[in-house]
Each structure stands twice: as C-alpha cells, then as structure tokens.
Symmetry: C2
C-alpha cells in the first residue's frame, strides 16, 4: 500500500466549466457522486443511466442528474462514465461499456471488490481507459434517496492497478477524488480485497449477525426500542444495509471474508471461554488487547 | 416492562435552590451526573467521593464537584448519594453507605447490572431509602475527563424494584432523571439484566472481539488507519471501553451474556455456512431478516 501526498495533485478542476459525466447506477454512491461533482463544478452536465422506469423518475425528481438516457446514447455524450452498481452486475455492464468508449473517454468503477473486475478486464483492448477505484465511504442506506452532497470528504479512495490505466486518465480521476476531499491510497486489486474484508466487510457481517441475535433472543421489541442506547445503535447500524449490494460483495470476496469471519468466531469463543471459566484475568486481557484499537482509530 | 408517561411526573425541581448531592465515583457517569445536576439546578452543592488522590485533584480541577470529602463526612452533608462505581465494588460500598444514611436521605446507584445489588440489599433495614437505577447512557470513554454536560438526555432510565423503595424517594429520583431529559422504564432486576445483555452487553463483546479480529488479521496498521470508513469505526467504537468497568458487568451478568453470546456465535456460523456453500439465497435471507431491525431502531 502506498499513499500519495495530496499536495502533489492539482487541486483545480481539470477543465474550465466542467465535463460531462454519465453515472451508471444512480444510487447511494452514484447519486452522491453526481451531486458532489456538480456542486464542485467538476461536471457541467450529469447523465443518469437507470434500469428501472421508477428510478428514472426518482433521480430526475431528486435533481441528482440533468437527464436520463439509455447507456449507449449516454456514453456518446460523456467524457467520463462512472459505474456504481452491485458488484455482481459490474463485470457484464463494464464489458459492454468498454466496448463503446473511445480513446479520450474514461471509465471509472466504484465497487467494493476489485479483483474480479480487474481480472475480467485485464486483457481488454481498452483496459487503459479504465480506472479501478473504491471510495471508502458509504452509509447503511441505499437507492437515490440515500445520495448526499456531504459524501466522500475526509475518507480514503483506493485506486487499484494504477499502472494498467492511462496516465492522464488516472490523473483526471485522482484530481476528481481529491477535489471531493478524499485522500488517495494505491493498491493491487488482491491486496485491496484482503484489506477490505478486514476493515469493512467483516463489520457488516458482525452487524447483520448482531441484529439477528437480538431479534432472535429479545422477544420484547418494546424493550429493544426503549433500552437501546448509543452502543447498540452504533454496532447494529450496518444491519440496515441493502442485501442486494452486500451479498455480491461477500460472494466475490468469499475467501477473504471467510478467513476473517473464522477469526472473528474464534475471538468470540475466547470471550465465551473466559466467561464460562469465570476467568476475569483472561477477560481483562482480551479487552485490554482490544483497547489497542485506540492507537489506530481515534 | 412498564413505561410511564413523563407528563405525569412533576417537571419542576423538587426543592427551590436545589439539594446537596454526593457522587461516589466521579467518572464518566458520576461526573456527568454531577455536571448536569448542577446545570439543571437540581443540586446546589455537589460533593465528590474519590478513592485516589490523583482523581480528587482532577475532579476539582475539572469543576465537576464543589468539594471532595471522605465518604462518611460527605454523606452527613447530603440529601442524595449517587453511586457510580464499577459493579464489583458496588455491593460492599453500598452496604457501607446504607449503614450511614438516615430516613430522609436517598441512595441511588447507576450500575449496568441490577440483580446482584438488589438481591444483596433486599433485607437491609434501610432498603426503602435505596432506589436502583440504570440510566442507559454511556460512551466508550471513562474517568472524570469523560464526563459531559450533554449526557443522559433522550435516553431511557430503568428503575428496578420500584415497590421496594420509599414512594417519595422514588418520586424524587424520577423527578431528577426526567429533568435530565430521560424517559423512565420500570422493570424487575432479573428482567433488566436479561434485556441489558441483549441490547447493551453483547454489543460490547462483539465490538471487543471485532477489534481483536482486525488486530490479529490486519498486520498493516496503516491499512486500518487509512481505509477504516464509518462502518468499521462505528462497529469497533465500543472496543475502546474500559475493561475495569466491563469485566465486572460481564461477570455479574454471566449467564445472560453467555446465553446471548452463544446465539451470536450461532448466527455468525449461519453466515459462514452460507458463504462456504456459496448459497446466495441463504445469505440474502439472513440479511433480509437482519434488516427487520429497521422497524425498531430508526
């Protein structure tokens, strides 16, 4: 993993007046990207590509995009195509897009897994036009209504396989994310997926499982509602996340997720053992070790 | 579980000018209670009882209390004694306090477990002067520096075994918590401990275990630091909590905590099985079930 000092990247927009951006998948990430790109004058025109008629009406009504067009027409009018759809749909959609772009256009994806996609496109004749990214921002909400103009700022954006993309294309994408207030981190796709399993995917699984635990054990929903303080709310928050987004992520990153999930179960078993044996020293030791996370997460 | 409409409780302070309160254990909870009681004119004078010389200096320097006195002297001057110390210390300290109070004074505890204490005091000749409470508020920080004047508001406060306390004493305590912006929930001590295991104690264990998982698996601390987005931070936040506070809670509520911990491990195993078998339908089903928490936690 290498990080780049943001000062080395041009802060100014790359073209006076902005570019035309097509957003494929105008949901939490795509819709937020649309909003912020417009707000920061990165885009002068934003086109949405949506599967469903209902979504088309919504993204226009919410003012996320200037117009909605079919994929092929949208690409023709765009400088940059930003793909933010569930990762199981990304490969076929990306292959279609890559087939339609020319040597001036840039294709960016925002998926939470990177290896499957980078691997699928590695020999594509237009590979250099593609920049693989993962802006490490999200909320537990999904769909166009979840898009917010406060997205992205202050978080990391991972750029994968940078050397396989055209230099100027990477520069433009770096420029956009930096203007969004993100700091850039560079990784190989395999390393990205490993790290993402540790610091993002496992949090979602523990939160989903915690919700199921409490829903299973606590038959008095009133009690959850009345008593749940900040602690429970923050640990269970991610359990509201959209299965349609997360199931494909877990499946694509299956081996890494299983690896870290096994470790997590074994860590919980240590707490179980300490309690069963009434071993307060061991219990303290486990918690004191966990406290080390303070060093890393302020 | 029963809840009471706050409108039925007198909102006005119970004595013009406020009362004298002794805080035994001026940390996160006790210190915050001191701050807010003063701010809301519930207390005209706040006395701190601290074990360590270092803490005495700190609580005075932070302005949490007006003076620091030895327990016996402090009680003599007080209308109400508020005990907020780790639950393994509560029983012996409370027994000492109950021996020193008269029939006008009120003793309140704020511990996260209620059965052990209520059981220990059930036959005490002064039992009626004691009101068992659990304000369901906290942060991952501890000690006097963690005390904040924004504490308590908007959260539930559980009052246990209400019928074993003097009616006027309960009324005063209800009055105080209501003035702090809390809503009141009434429970037997046994029920409290069961519910607390579900909605509070398990969240802390999962968070501690998640921190240990990531610290074990993620050898690149830079990666955690760079990549951890809001999701990881919120699920791991409680792992910063103080072992000296939590170990006694887990031990006193051992059976309930073990019960819910076993369920949690079994819920995580379901995710493991879905991933191992690449059963995306099952994976979706597990997450859709977890989504039901939206109904309860907004």
């Amino acid at each position: 993993m290498t990080t780049e000092n943001n000062e080395n990247i041009l802060q100014a927009p790359f073209r006076v007046g902005g570019i035309t951006i097509t957003i494929v998948g105008v949901g939490l990430i795509g819709g937020s990207f649309a909003l912020v790109s417009k707000q920061k004058s990165i885009a002068k025109h934003v086109i949405g590509v949506c599967n469903r008629e209902e979504t088309k009406q919504k993204v226009l009504a919410l003012g996320l995009v200037d117009e909605v067009l079919p994929l092929e027409e949208a690409i023709k009018k765009s400088d940059l195509i930003y793909v933010a759809i569930p990762v199981d749909a990304t490969v076929p959609v990306m292959q279609k897009i890559m087939h339609l772009v020319n040597n001036q256009q840039i294709v960016v994806d925002a998926g939470s897994t990177k290896f499957v996609l980078c691997d699928a496109l590695k020999n594509h004749p237009m590979r250099k036009r593609f920049v693989a990214t993962h802006p490490m921002w999200g909320t537990e909400y999904s769909g166009p209504e979840a898009a917010v103009a406060t997205a992205f700022a202050g978080r990391a954006c991972v750029i994968c396989e940078k050397d396989k993309s055209d230099g100027a294309a990477v520069k433009m994408v770096e420029n956009i994310y930096t203007n969004l207030g993100m700091h850039l981190v560079y990784m190989e796709a395999v390393a990205h997926d490993t790290h993402a399993a540790y610091v993002s995917h496992i949090s979602h699984i523990t939160s989903f499982a915690l919700a199921n635990t409490v829903l299973e054990k606590e038959k008095e929903e009133d009690a959850i509602f009345e008593l749940a303080g900040g602690g429970f709310e923050s640990t269970v928050r991610l359990a509201k996340s959209n299965p349609a987004m997360w199931a494909p992520i877990f499946m694509q990153n299956r081996e890494n997720v299983l690896d870290v999930l096994n470790e997590h179960i074994s860590q919980l078993r240590k707490f179980k053992s300490a309690l069963e044996k009434e071993n307060i020293d061991y219990l303290n030791e486990l918690m004191e070790n966990a406290n080390k996370i303070k060093r890393i997460i302020k």
